[in-house]
Subunit: 99 residues, 2 copies
């Protein structure tokens, strides 16, 4: 289908990660991925247009938060737990547990 670019997490400044997490849809997506491990876009608990969702997934991907792999017609997304937690310790835990 497509090849996705995944940045080196070391190249992500903290404010970029913060920006990616400053939107409620993206926060909901992150929490769903953290809870379920790996989900296709159409399994995410958000009610927005496909084009909008695609944009949000791009923002999360470019901020180093998620990794996307292709499987058939769907793309499966997961949180880049280890790497991200190494770069920004505690941030994922915060997303998981706060509010």
């Amino acid at each position: 289908m497509k090849t996705y670019e995944h940045p080196e997490i070391e190249s992500i400044p903290l404010e970029k990660a913060m920006h990616a997490l400053s939107d409620s849809s993206r926060m909901v997506i992150m929490r769903a991925l953290l809870a379920h491990g790996e989900l296709a876009c159409n399994e995410l608990p958000v009610e927005i247009a496909k084009a909008t969702l695609s944009h949000h997934m791009g923002v999360l991907r470019e901020a180093g938060l998620i990794v996307t792999r292709v499987e058939g017609t769907k793309c499966l997304n997961a949180v880049r737990k280890e790497a991200f937690d190494l770069q920004f310790p505690g941030l994922l835990e915060l997303i998981r547990t706060c509010v």
Copy 2:
């Protein structure tokens, strides 16, 4: 001079805090405050117009990140360490140490 409103930190959703921290000027300000304890607006290491700075301080204040008190003609700003750290454990430490 003016009375500043400071929200209950419990009422701040994580994404609002993230939004406040998604701007480089505001990140610089937070780091300066964390390093120096309490600083007036004109002592902050940013080179932006006063009106713009005032806006950024308002964003940080409304996100529960800082507290502002008046002293003479200046307003002294400090990070709301204890309360904020209770609501979002580890976030301040992240700002302090990351990137």
